[in-house]
Amino acid sequence: MEDTQGFIGLWIIDKDSGIPISSFEFGHSKTDSVLFGGFLVALRGMAHDFEIGQLTSFQTDNANLIITGSEAILSVIAITRESNSDCWYPTLVTINNHAENFYRSYQEKELIVDTGVNEHLVPEFKRIIVKNINSLKSNFNDHCNSKKEEKVADKLKDSGLW
């Protein structure tokens, strides 16, 4: 299996409606983007209603999901629990900016974003993600190791020890 440095998947969704704009996963797509978009918008709505601040990330047993947003869209990246979120956040912001420009240009032209058009985004996403994967591979020790020790401490805390 390809070494993705912990990358699992990327989803771009409309901020208000939760409609998926685009997504990218290596290999076969495993996620129902429509369902995921609706779930995320609902979760953000709940955080807003409970007045507990913005939803910026959440965890499952196996993955960290990091969220960033701009005026019209939300970008979500899923990485493995062992991966360093800080090593992926700048990439997520780059992708989000790229997707935001694309989406707004289509909205200004009053064009409806459909699946066919969204496919144009995927090669660019892939290029940005692969660039980050290569960067992580080459700079792994210098760039991310200090944070890895925090992961060890997190594991100890997660196990109820610290």
């Binding site: 200090s146 401490a153 109820g160």
Partner: protein, 261 residues
Amino acid sequence: MVDVEKMISEILLIQQQVSEIPPLALIAEGTALLVYAFLTWNLSSKWRSTRKDATRNLFLSFTLYFIAVLMLFSTKTTNFLTGDEIDISTLGINTGYAFSLLGNVFLYYFTDNIFFDEENRKTYLKEFITLTNGVTLGFLMVFIFQVQSAPFLEIPGTYISVHLLIWHVLVSTVGFIILFVKAFQSTIKANTRVSRGGFLMISFSAIFEMLVFVFFFLDLFTGAGYSTWYFIAWVTASLAGLCSMIGYLMPNWFRRLLGGS
């Protein structure tokens, strides 16, 4: 009535005999027993509340160490109180080694859970550690059960051979060195004083646990019986327990000492 009198007189006779075991040995082992009992009890409550694999492995490891110390202490106490009439301390030592090596296996599983992930996990190292300790356990059974002679179980048995002890020390050292290296790397790179202190204590615990086996080996190697190495080994075992208690459980006083909340 006559039987009772005879039994009482036999007990009195036994108590008059002086055991070869020095009382200081019982004090040293008893202290370590208390440390490991406290640690095991605390780890059991941590495991019950979290049910995580890493906590379970650590709890199992220290439970097995506790049983090992308990075997040694109880058999030695029996010898001491009966003036060596009931001589089962050798059996206690051999079964103690058996339980401690199982503890070592689970401690390595804990190391694997916490300090390794998919990116840096060493292939087959876990299996290698399990199998090599399994080999030690197999050979230990010969010394525990005296399978070569009839009857099958012949107490007190003979002491673990020097060759087997060398093998046991080497195998144990591999697991402890890996734990030490990983914990020490984390100490150097930790961002907070509390984390640094915790990782340092885990590093110390690994070193002390490794030294326990080395000192017991030196005690057996000198052949004097209850040499200075023996007492150093037990003090080191207690220190390993104390460092583990601080490093793994991170008590509030330690957190506050390092300026944490």
